[in-house]
């Protein structure tokens, strides 16, 4: 058992860190403040192959492993929660299901442009009445000749209005419950497919979060992803992978807030000395550093498990649960160490705490992760 990164992973980490510092960090506060989607960053992510890191080269990707991919999400998360989730949702939730369940034709038509960054992807499972209870899908897909006709709406969709390719879940047979759910690949600009309201969010404010509306939206039968009725399984397996990405995002946010706080406590003076000289500061930082390290071990272990094991649901759930709750605790305590300044938008920890909160909610709440973990423990 070896906990050191290989030379190539270490070099990739250096690359992601440099890119994040130079290309992403400078606009992180601005895109948060103005709720602007960073299209210019996405163009750079495409240029350097960051939008298909774990996808094999034959499908337009970089041919790397999951660990490399999640280190990218982590490093982006250190400086910008928004950019981090753009990459995570695109890669884990759009590229991955097509790679795993797509036909050769679907891979050629949809995965290649996603993995080489020409297209951006999104994943549409959540509905107004189907959040954690994802099986209660109201969106319907009815086969009519060579086409499925989609009707319904999806909410809280990451990369919502900016994506080109959407993985959409809908009921093809309501009588079968979750076994009546199917997955579809839907292209932007398909007639009958439109956007509803843009969410006004607490954090990851540069991320494009939209409602998707389908009204008699006809999609080719060839765009059914996997078999009819197998959609729920596809969604759950996709989310297992996605959770490692979100766990990496949470880890990055925690590390980013921690790094800034370590620098701050060395500079900030009260009672005639840097606040780093007080034992309270030292002990808080010691606890946070330990939790961050533990989170990192869980996240990296889950990433390696995804590449080496058939099932990794429990590892992914543990990584996401622990990293998300660590991110929330770390950012909150980092603000505390910043005092009043930390509560202002002049300091990045303020944004990081708002960005951290969503990691406890999306791609399965912390409660869902506990359900998954306890299910495995008690089986």
């Amino acid at each position: 058992m070896d906990f050191t990164l290989s030379k190539k992973h270490s070099m990739a980490q250096t690359l992601f860190r440099e890119f994040a510092e130079k290309e992403v960090k400078p606009i992180a506060a601005e895109i948060d403040e103005t709720e602007r989607f960073p299209s210019e960053t996405v163009a750079k992510l495409k240029k350097y192959g960051f939008l298909g890191i774990p996808v094999p080269k034959e499908f337009g990707g970089q041919g790397c492993d999951t660990l490399t991919y999640i280190m990218c999400v982590e490093e982006l998360g250190k400086v910008c929660g928004t950019t981090s989730v753009i990459v995570s949702a695109h890669t884990s939730l759009a590229c991955e299901p097509i790679l795993k369940f797509g036909t050769p034709e679907q891979k050629e038509k949809y995965l290649v442009p996603l993995a080489n960054g020409t297209h951006l992807g999104a994943f549409a499972l959540t509905e107004a009445g189907a959040g954690t209870d994802a099986g209660s899908q109201q969106t319907k897909a009815v086969l009519d000749g060579d086409e499925y006709v989609l009707n319904g709406s999806k909410i809280f969709i990451t990369n919502g209005k900016e994506a080109d390719t959407y993985i959409v879940f809908a009921m093809t047979d309501k009588s079968k419950g979750t076994h009546g759910i199917s997955a579809f690949i839907v292209e932007k600009d398909t007639p009958g497919f439109s956007f509803g309201t843009k969410e006004k969010k607490m954090g990851i404010r540069g991320s494009s979060t939209y409602e998707l509306i389908f009204r008699d939206c006809r999609i080719p039968k060839a765009n059914l992803l996997g078999q009819e009725g197998k959609g729920f399984g596809i969604a759950m397996q996709t989310l297992d992978g996605g959770r490692i990405g979100i766990a990496a995002q949470a880890l990055g946010i925690a590390e980013g807030a921690f790094e800034r706080t370590v620098a701050y406590v060395k500079e900030r003076k009260q009672f005639g000395k840097p606040i780093a000289a007080f034992q309270n500061t030292q002990f808080v930082l010691a606890d946070l550093a330990t939790k961050i390290e533990a989170a990192k071990m869980l996240v990296y272990k889950a990433a390696i498990a995804k590449d080496t094991q058939k099932r990794f649901s429990t590892e992914a759930a543990m990584a996401k649960l622990f990293a998300a709750e660590t991110a929330m605790e770390v950012t909150s305590k980092c603000i505390q160490l910043h005092g009043g300044y930390g509560y202002t938008r002049d300091y990045e920890v303020e944004r990081m705490m708002r960005d951290a909160k969503i990691t406890e909610i999306y791609e399965g709440t912390s409660e869902v992760q506990r359900m998954v973990i306890s299910g495995a423990v008690l089986k």
């Binding site: 030379k7 070099m11 990739a12 690359l15 890119f19 350097y48 890191i53 041919g63």
Partner: protein, 259 residues
């Protein structure tokens, strides 16, 4: 077209600390990077490769850990990498370094050699032009723009307050300014490929060169003292009439014992 790029691994700082007692560089704790001017030279080569059918070879001389900058160059898009490493090469000054590098480059079928203007750990700017001398090819230094046309290069060369536009036939050697371009990032897939590629390692027996012209023996340079660059003070400004000014200046010169 074959382009050879000479790169060097250097400590990552423009303010290298010196040991006040020995006058040598303190290298501990400083990460190593590809020399910035050399990275610009590599970017220039890769830009040519983007537009023409070119093979980019990168070469470095140094200890075995200098392999890291070759892997980085491969991850950026270079095609072949060569590491010149041997105890016999160590202790080399610029002359011995350029002699060794030139001997190695002769083994590669090259059309163009690119090198950085200078390395941030020594600032000599000598190795590139010396390689050109050893190989008997033209050298154009301080390039800000490079254009390739039909067996020729046109170079916009920085010259203090002006530019020179220089043309030369291939093969030739060009040294590149770091300001010339912004080097591209590596790609994740490029990194993975770089670690699958073989690096050609050349030792003493692989290069045809006299023992007397390599390593410490081949190095006539002796470093008397090293010191960091220091900024001059702002000076003083006086507004005086001519006679007063002459007196003032003479007084200052006498004060310093200059006259």
């Amino acid at each position: 077209m074959n382009i050879v790029v000479c790169i060097k691994q250097v400590p990552d700082t423009t303010e290298v600390k010196l040991d006040p007692k020995t006058g040598t560089l303190i290298r501990e704790g400083i990460p190593s990077i590809m020399n910035p001017d050399d990275k610009a030279a590599l970017e220039a080569a890769l830009t040519i490769k983007d537009n023409f059918n070119a093979t980019v070879h990168v070469i470095t001389m140094g200890p075995t850990q200098a392999e890291a900058v070759l892997r980085e160059a491969l991850a950026m898009g270079a095609d072949k990498a060569y590491l010149l490493t041997d105890k016999a090469f160590s202790g080399a000054d610029t002359l011995a370094t350029s002699t060794t590098l030139a001997a190695a480059i002769r083994k590669i079928d090259f059309d163009l050699i690119l090198a950085g203007r200078q390395a941030i750990d020594g600032d000599t700017a000598q190795v590139g032009p010396q390689i050109a001398e050893h190989l008997g090819i033209p050298n154009i230094s301080y390039a800000e723009e490079i254009e390739i046309t039909d067996g020729e290069v046109s170079v916009k060369r920085w010259y203090e307050d002006r530019y020179h536009l220089v043309k030369a036939k291939l093969p030739c050697l060009i040294t590149v300014l770091g300001e010339m371009n912004t080097p591209r990032y590596m790609t994740p897939g490029g990194i993975f490929d770089a670690f699958d590629k073989e690096i050609t390692v050349w030792t003493r027996s692989d290069v045809e060169v006299d023992d007397s012209s390599i390593g410490l023996k081949g190095s006539p340079t002796r470093v008397v003292a090293s010191y960091p660059k220091s900024l001059k003070g702002a000076g003083e400004k006086k507004v005086l009439d001519t006679e007063e000014a002459v007196e003032y200046l003479l007084g200052k010169l006498r004060e310093r014992g200059i006259i």
